[in-house]
Symmetry: C2
Subunit: 151 residues, 2 copies
DNA sequence: TTGACAAATAAGAGTTACTCCTAAATAGTA
DNA sequence: TACTATTTAGGAGTAACTCTTATTTGTCAA
C-alpha cells in the first residue's frame, strides 16, 4: 500500500461520515452530497491537499462540483471543527481532516506536508499570561526544512 | 512610547544596518539603497508587516520603490537569513526581522501577529528520526486565537 | 577614474488563489 | 407535497503575488 493513499479503511470512513453528518445537523448545516463528498475525500488522504488538489479528486466522484464550493466547504469544515488549515509560511492553504493530536513538517522545496507525532509536542502548556490576555484556540509545533526526496 | 512603533533606537538600527551590509557582501549580493531601506523599515517595526504594508512605509523614505522590489527583497532577506516569513494559516505573507528566539500568537479575527517569549518554547528538541530523515531548517511553536482587542 | 558588465530595479502584464455575485437547485420541515 | 432558507454552479472580480523587459546601477578590474 502506497503511504500517500488509502490510509483509512472503508469501515472507519463510514464511521467518520456518520459522525460528520451528525456534526452538520448539530450545527444547523444541511447535509448535502457535495459536503459529504468533500469531507470523505479529505479524510481519506494524508497529503494535506489544497482546495485545487481536493477539487480534482472530488470531481472523480462528483464531476459537476465547483472550485468555489470546495473552497467554501473547506472553510466551513474548519469552522465547525471537522478539519483545519495547516500552518505554514505562504503558498496556497492546505487542509487536514486528521483530528488526532500530531505535528507537521513542511518541505520548503516541494511544499509536501508530512505528519509526525512526538509525545512532548502534544498538549504543550501555554504560558498563563497568554491564556489570560487572549483566547487561545490552537497551539502547534511546526517544523520546516528539506524533505528526504528533495535533499 | 507606543508598543507598535520605534522598538529599536538609532544606534542599534545602524549596527544592524552595518551587519546586514556585511551579510549582503558575504552572500555576493549588491548593497543597493532599496535593499537597505527595506531592511531598515522591517527591523524598525514589531508589527510583522506584509509586503504591501512595508512598501507603503518604505515609500515615505524612498518614493519611487516598486512593490515587486519589496516582494523580491523580502524573499531574499528570508533566504540569506536576515529575516523570515511568519508562520500562519493563510492570508498574505507576513515578515519578521527580529532574529532573537521568540514565538508568535496570531489573531484569526484581525490578523495581528503578536510576539511573545516563553523559555520552554525556545530551542525545543526535534525527535532524532526527524533530524535523520529531513534537514530541519526551522522549528517553531505557534499559537492562534482571538486577541485582547477583538474578543 | 573610468569603463564593462552582471545584478538589480521600475513598471506593467500575467498568474494564482481565492472571494463575491446571481440565478437555479435542493435539504429540511410542515 | 409544498414551502423556503440554504446551498450550489458558473462566471466575474479581487488580492497577492510573479514574470517580463527595458533601463539603471553597484562592483570590480584596468
Ligand atoms: Mn496532518
Ligand atoms: Mn516576531
Ligand atoms: Zn521536498
Ligand atoms: Zn484581533
Amino acid at each position: 500500500m502506497n503511504a500517500q493513499e488509502s490510509i483509512i479503511n472503508s469501515v472507519d470512513l463510514d464511521k467518520k461520515t456518520v459522525w460528520f453528518t451528525g456534526l452538520c445537523r448539530e450545527k444547523g448545516l444541511k447535509v448535502t452530497p457535495q459536503r459529504i463528498a468533500i469531507y470523505r475525500e479529505l479524510v481519506k488522504t494524508n497529503e494535506h491537499p489544497s482546495a485545487e488538489m481536493l477539487c480534482e479528486k472530488v470531481r472523480q466522484v462528483f464531476p459537476s462540483i465547483s472550485l468555489d464550493t470546495v473552497n467554501r466547504t473547506l472553510l466551513t469544515l474548519n469552522e465547525i471543527g471537522a478539519a483545519f488549515i495547516v500552518e505554514g509560511s505562504g503558498d496556497a492553504k492546505r487542509f487536514d481532516g486528521g483530528l488526532d493530536e500530531h505535528q507537521h513538517f513542511k518541505c520548503v522545496e516541494c511544499k509536501r506536508v508530512i505528519d509526525f507525532s512526538h509525545e512532548p509536542f502534544n498538549n504543550i502548556e501555554v504560558p498563563q499570561e497568554m491564556e489570560e490576555m487572549f483566547v487561545v484556540l490552537r497551539k502547534s509545533v511546526y517544523l520546516e526544512g528539506i524533505c528526504d526526496l528533495c535533499r
